[in-house]
């Protein structure tokens, strides 16, 4: 079965990622693998470097895609640390989807709910 791995936390980006992942699961008929209160989801807690652990889980699950939320940090932190999607893209062969933070404020994700869209 197709699996989508979603990295979540309490940030707006994490919520946006969860929303987009849920829509993708519905559209692609996939299984969601992370912290989501949903019957179609499984959850797992991992300790370590975020990019490396997500890549490892995605590889172990044979994931179709990894979904993450975008973060906005200061210029210096962005340069030093906020490179998770870019790091992931380098260490895994699984595509990485970055959900914009703006989608967190709109639970129904109207941008994606267009005719022929995800929902």
């Amino acid at each position: 079965m197709k699996t989508i791995v979603c990295g979540v936390d309490v940030s707006p980006g994490g919520r946006a990622a969860l929303g987009v992942a849920a829509l993708l699961v519905e559209k692609l008929g996939a299984r969601l693998y992370d912290e989501a209160p949903d019957a179609y989801a499984e959850s797992r807690g991992e300790v370590g470097d975020v990019a490396e652990r997500l890549a490892a889980v995605a590889r172990a699950e044979g994931a179709l895609m990894i979904v993450l939320g975008a973060r906005s940090r200061g210029r210096s932190r962005a340069f030093l640390r906020a490179r998770c999607p870019a790091e992931l893209a380098q260490i895994t062969d699984v595509p990485v989807l970055v959900a914009p933070r703006q989608l967190a404020a709109e639970p129904t994700l109207p941008q994606l709910s267009t005719p022929g869209g995800f929902s």
């Binding site: 692609l28 380098q90 895994t92 970055v98 869209g117």
Partner: protein
């Protein structure tokens, strides 16, 4: 800023109707690099699964004007020829998978123009490739941080061994 529509290759009449119904497309950035080829493959796969048309975009920065007319024109012609060639290859891949697609050549900074174009076209997804840059700013990272649409960073083919070690 300029935009130039290069081509449109709906696979058949149904696809043509889909593309013309103003269905939000998947926008895929291409530049002819190996990372760009990964982006084309991922965009075509997602478009086939989501029943969405694709718009391939090639963003060129444009030759510097201070070289003067003969050199400027020669470099501009060379850039446009390369852009058309890259887009033709991407369109051929989409056509082989029976996915409706079109190509656009944009001018400016890729980090700025790709999110702008995706917003203008109400794109469902933006697909970009990722390549490791030792110096300089990553286009894929910049697009992922600034775009208001979900961005798919297509798989890089390098350094997969790191993930193997982590596993």
């Amino acid at each position: 800023m300029s935009e130039l529509a290069i081509h449109r290759t709906p696979a058949d009449n149904d696809d043509r109707q889909l593309a013309e119904q103003n269905v939000p497309p998947i926008v895929a950035a291409v530049d002819g690099s190996p990372a760009s080829r990964a982006a084309i493959g991922e965009a075509v796969r997602l478009a086939a699964e989501l029943d969405a048309p694709i718009v391939f975009v090639f963003v060129r920065r444009g030759p510097a004007g201070f070289f003067g007319n003969p050199i400027y024109q020669r470099r501009l012609t060379k850039e446009m020829t390369r852009a058309r060639r890259v887009l033709e290859r991407a369109l051929a891949v989409a056509d082989n998978s029976h996915v409706p697609a079109e190509g656009e050549i944009l001018e400016g900074s890729p980090r700025r123009r790709i999110p702008e174009f995706a917003g203008d076209r109400r794109a469902r997804l933006v697909v970009v490739g990722s390549r490791r840059l030792k110096l300089g700013r990553s286009v894929s990272n910049g697009v992922a941080r600034t775009a208001e649409r979900p961005v798919v960073v297509a798989k890089g083919l390098q350094r997969v061994a790191t993930a193997d070690r982590a596993a």
